[in-house]
Subunit: 271 residues, 2 copies
């Protein structure tokens, strides 16, 4: 391959880093792909790093040693996070979303890549320094969000199922009590899913009483693993006492009033 | 904000395009963000476009008119697609994946962002010229892949459920016959999910008899909408006659032999 100009190399470096968040990439990978010396690549990376940091687009870390290289940690400025939380509130306050029982229809939002990709960066950045092994969720609506968080953190996603499947092999099933209804529910994970002594975060679309999060703690306990953080898109703060207290949410849902208006505001961190 | 150099602007342009596939972005958005004239931005974009096309990283299209701008269409060279298909086969051929009943455990692969993000680009590029409104899947294992395809095509994801939920409002439920077991199954979609007369593709993790794909055709029919393509990660070609014939798969699964070896090869397109 012919030599590329600095401009051209910078396009490729930026694209590879953006597409591979939190993945350590050796300088030699770039050097081979771009047919350039490692010292040249280092200079390219320095330019990319400086502008990313200046504009709050994320940071680039250097990992020393034989398995070393660089990794990109996605970021977003606090202003952008706040304006995202506000936009999300506007989207969710639409009265047409109310379905019988005063529930809010939000399936479209949870499966909208434009919304979920940004929410994923925001929640991932809350846990970027926690040295996570896995992101855990429960089927179904939270899967795209949990997937984005896992992708941004460069780790594997694990999805607990409501029932067991023959394609999962041996499974561990636990019972847990829903925080709001008090009903007993089940969730399962394949024995093959995670290594013991893992550090996990739980990501979900909506939190009411926090019963599911408590269930996740028990389920991970069966794998001698630990829940070290919880991230939620929408927190129902109108709900009674929560079973968990330490978590990050992007927006707070306060309820539907008698005029059928939905009360939704950015969570405290993003106001 | 102070002026940025061309190198710096190119980092930002590349990052925004990579993160927003198939989304039309006006030149003025870049101009404001980068504090530069539109003519300058046009030159930056030309540089990015040329190197992307030269290295098969994707293409950049110009959309004329008032709502115009540019959009990035992700791409991958055929060589890269083929080597991805081969790597995926190696990953799936591990004998430890066999669970009782000669099923292959592949949940970890379907929830691995490194695998699924590449598979998403490959499947999306098969449908890039089809003018799609929605990507449709059925819960649960195919959701991350379908989400990546939707993101790459810049459209909304729709997930059919096995049961109905109170948070979905009114739903449409259909019965369909599994292609392999002959059992009757159900799937549901909220009435709010999709606009009539939509063009959809169906994305799933695994195809056996094709019964689910046939069911999706019926379900979309209830919304006066059309299925115009099917994309699958793994095709069980050892399975009997298929109910559908026109689809794209990345790898073919031929079965498990008497020695407990898994036969898995890249699909014809990617050999």
């Amino acid at each position: 391959m012919e030599k590329l100009t600095r401009n051209n190399r910078i396009v490729v470096v930026t694209k590879i880093l953006t597409e591979n968040p939190n993945k350590v990439i050796g300088l030699s990978t770039f050097a081979e792909k771009l047919n350039a010396a490692k010292s040249t690549i280092s200079e390219d990376i320095l330019i990319v790093r400086k502008v990313m940091e200046k504009l709050n687009l994320g940071s680039i870390e250097t990992i020393a040693g034989a398995a070393g290289g660089i990794k990109f940690i996605p970021g977003m400025s606090m202003d952008e996070k706040k304006s995202f939380a506000l936009e999300l509130c506007e989207m969710l306050k639409d009265k047409k979303r109310i379905v019988p029982g005063n529930y809010i229809y939000m399936t479209d939002v949870m499966f909208d890549p434009h919304v979920i990709s940004k929410a994923g960066v925001i929640l991932a950045s809350s846990f970027a320094d926690k040295d996570i092994d896995y992101v855990v969720t429960v089927e179904t609506k939270g899967i795209p969000l949990a997937y984005e968080v896992a992708k941004n953190l460069g780790v594997q996603l694990i999805t607990a199922r409501r029932d067991t499947k023959i394609t999962e092999g041996s499974t561990v099933t636990i019972n847990y009590v829903s925080g709001t209804s008090g009903r007993i529910q089940q969730m399962s994970l394949s024995k093959k899913t995670l290594k013991p002594h893992s550090r996990c975060i739980f990501i979900d679309d909506f939190m009411k009483g926090g019963g599911t999060a408590k269930g996740i703690v028990d389920l991970l306990g069966e794998f001698e693993s630990e829940l070290i953080g919880i991230g939620i898109l929408i927190d129902n703060i109108g709900s009674e006492k929560k079973l968990v207290t330490d978590y990050t949410a992007i927006v707070d849902f306060l309820g539907v009033n008698d005029d059928g208006e939905i009360s939704m505001i950015p969570s405290e961190k993003f106001r």
